[in-house]
Symmetry: C2
Subunit: 141 residues, 2 copies
């Protein structure tokens, strides 16, 4: 399978990029780099890609395993190297589950299946970053 995208310069530091969903997205630099912040910072899109890829796995498993989860979020803290080219060398990913009937074992299993088996973006991150992954469970009425 192939993914194809086109990214078009709109002048200054702004770009428009396609996505297989059919929706376009804008990219721009911040004011400190000559942009107008009128679009996403590109490097952080890597992190949304990682969270989205793994999040979709887990959401799919929550449905398949009929798990009771009120809320669910993923926080990512990613450290960039100081020298050019600046890449993510340390990535901490925190899965937070909220609910009053959380099946912690099954949710942990869903996270593990994504991390170890399904999430291709995670597999790519493993090639350049040291990954720390933690799962947190929160009681919520």
């Amino acid at each position: 399978m192939t993914n194809q995208i086109t990214t078009t310069w709109l002048g200054e530091m702004k770009f428009e990029s396609t996505n297989p969903s059919g929706q376009k997205l804008f990219i721009d630099a911040g004011e400190e780099h000559g942009g107008k912040s009128d679009g996403y910072r590109p490097k952080a899109l890597m992190l949304s890609s990682l969270a989205g890829c793994s999040g979709l796995d887990v959401a799919s498993l929550i449905k398949k395993m009929k798990l009771d989860v009120s809320d669910f979020k993923i926080d990512i803290d990613a450290e960039l190297t100081e020298e050019h080219p600046k890449y993510y060398n340390k990535v901490a990913m925190h899965f937070h589950f909220y609910g009053n009937k959380l099946n912690e074992n099954k949710l942990q299993k869903a996270v593990d299946l994504s991390i170890e088996k399904y999430c291709g973006v995670m597999e790519m991150f493993r090639q350049f970053a040291e990954l720390k992954i933690e799962t947190h469970f929160h009681k919520k009425e």
Copy 2:
């Protein structure tokens, strides 16, 4: 430097993800995977990240070198492995410059500087994918 994002489940296969620009983005699966296509496909965001990162380098160098360019776009074709976890193993990136006064040597230099020195996302892609990068110049009045 650290990049931090939060990605929140909105139910079904939809997520909302933050970006350091302050703008949020939505992620969703396609209908064939239980989603409603009401957001970006996460894996393709990796490619927008790559094009955006390198595109910003080149846009910045076009300005710094005072180059005359009418249009500029980056096409990416990325092949995914067939087995889980599916990652990009072959990535072809085509830089297209349009104009009637293109300084081909300097534009090639700008692309090379991004690829070899500045673009951190490119550095990350090098760790898992075979990269093919081509520059194309098109006359345009």
